[in-house]
Symmetry: C2
Subunit: 374 residues, 2 copies
Amino acid sequence: MPLDRDGPGALSRNERLILSLIRKRGPMPRAALVQLMDLSAQSITNLTRKLMQAGYLDAGAVVRGKVGQPSTPLALAPDGALFLGLKIGRRLAELALVDFAGRVRVHRQEVHSHPRPDRVMAFARQGLETMLATLSPAERARITGLGIAAPYRLWDWGHEMSDWLNLDLRYELARGLPFPVFLDNDGTTACGAELIFGRNDLPRDFIHIYIAHFAGGGIVLDGALRHGPTRNAGALGSMPIPSVGPGGGQLLDQASVSALEARIGRSLPPDDSGWDVPPAVEADWADQAGRALAFAAMSAVALVDLPLVVIDGAVPPATRARLAQAMRDALQAMPAAGIDRPQVIEGTLGRSARILGAAGLPLSHFFQPDGALD
Amino acid sequence: MPLDRDGPGALSRNERLILSLIRKRGPMPRAALVQLMDLSAQSITNLTRKLMQAGYLDAGAVVRGKVGQPSTPLALAPDGALFLGLKIGRRLAELALVDFAGRVRVHRQEVHSHPRPDRVMAFARQGLETMLATLSPAERARITGLGIAAPYRLWDWGHEMSDWLNLDLRYELARGLPFPVFLDNDGTTACGAELIFGRNDLPRDFIHIYIAHFAGGGIVLDGALRHGPTRNAGALGSMPIPSVGPGGGQLLDQASVSALEARIGRSLPPDDSGWDVPPAVEADWADQAGRALAFAAMSAVALVDLPLVVIDGAVPPATRARLAQAMRDALQAMPAAGIDRPQVIEGTLGRSARILGAAGLPLSHFFQPDGALD
DNA sequence: AAATGCATTAATCAACATGATTGATTTATT
DNA sequence: AATAAATCAATCATGTTGATTAATGCATTT
């Protein structure tokens, strides 16, 4: 198993590209890979042989019925690698074990009024211990890393979060763990999850907006998730917005669940079941949020030229649909001289996007091609 | 000479990287290249030998005086390749021949009240013919391409520009020319010029704002100039801006020479000599423009995470400095929760940025590494 | 209806090309 | 003698090409 992207056992760029193509488009025969990648059939033979021997690919049943030699589709081996994800949210801490095919094998969570370092660390440590104990030694050896999804600067949320300031979360959790630990903004992980596990018809360039307690996002350029020099790319919540009506001058003041909670005067539960917002209030909020989101989206289009906005969030599907529609309506009112208005679609992962994306961090590090031509 | 980036005679990625490093940081010995690139000394020996034989590099005088074997710095061979640039502006058409070291060998220009296809085409064709006639056959063979810098959708400027709608500028000029022709937004070429020929201390990520009759820009991410799927990245002039005071809701309505001309009620000449704007008017304009630019810059920082804004334009240096300072002041007033305010510096190329960038298009295509690790 | 030939497609074998590597060696200097 | 620059010789990694094998559907012949 790969210990570093360079070390022994590490996969080459083209090997990672093969895996990502099969992950995105499903099982396919070697001949399809020859078409999609710019490689000879011989190279595909060599690369897939190595990937099968390493346990990352399985040969499926041969497909007959067409002219020519029957083809043998290659699929991801679900046990090829295992990934751990930890998500720290405003109300919920989550821990998950995800397999190579993207399925969640184990999931546990804990509700809190607000996240505290000692409680979250204890939840993570105990959860990890329990999960690892249920795995066979062979499975444990297949774990390639732990990814953490957390908002930037937790200590900026308020004085009750100040304990986070002096905690190096990544370092503390990495101590004693036999695999690497990754940390990223939760909005960026949600975007990465859509890129790795989500719908397979996404273009090479898009922004992903994630509406949770706060508003975050991610951006994909030339097929690759952008992190930026300070790993703060996709900080859509911090985008400046003309402030009309209640709320301040940044996106998260207008387009977030916390803005909605401010309108109804109480907090909403961390799942869809207790989402009881008066329709009129939700509609007003969606209108305001949609205008703010449309403004941010047009800025993004002008700046980096992209055709699509994906919107998702920790909200019920109906609310997400309402936000998307409000955004489409608001886009029509935006000035667009010199640029094209983007298409708006909904994400597919909803509340699971961030935890899936957390587990996707080690996956991405070891198994995704960087600047993808897919 | 390379006819295509793949064809015979084309340079490999590492060969292009060597040339770009020497272009950016000046002549250096092979040992310095070993340090900067992630290659062995042997590989550098092989690659530089090939580049010297191909006429792209010259060995300088050996440097003695230090411990160890003296080093021989390698410099760009000025005659290694020649590039043509054509810039079409609101008041000025320009044509230039630029050598491999970035020096302008020949330059000619023509003023017009507004650009007309037949006049510009005639200027370009006659100019090219004259220039080519003065070159020796060996020099002509070294021309690798023609780059055109023009605003997007010229026909959107007004009804007198409608003739441009049905003209495929690139195709028309390419007919009969024995080298490829490239076309890009003039704001993007100005950014590319700064990247290729400009100051050598630029970071891997920045936006470049270019204030001319209209406002344009370019964006560099991970060391590479971004074009985007519709080649419209860096369309900063189209960014939405909260409209305060006179002007509309996009950046170019507030931060452009045309906005300044609207204030003084007449048009300004295409050179610094006749720039006679009343100081109070210019200060007001710079304040408004600075606020609009600061807004756009903070959007960019939140979206893609970058530390620097370069501002340049077809304006006198003093005016450019005033704009930069107005922008710095306005940035302090922007909300910045969750992100860092970018640094603002002035560009180095001024009015020559766009024509240099035009000639830089073929240079970039054949001689720059794509996703640069520099 | 069964047998045959053949185009078609998938996949591999064997030899080779390219671009890099490593370890030993040469050169010129303080 | 130590140091730094540069090269030589052998080798490795990754991909290529051209020939070859394999398994099938389809059209034609028997």
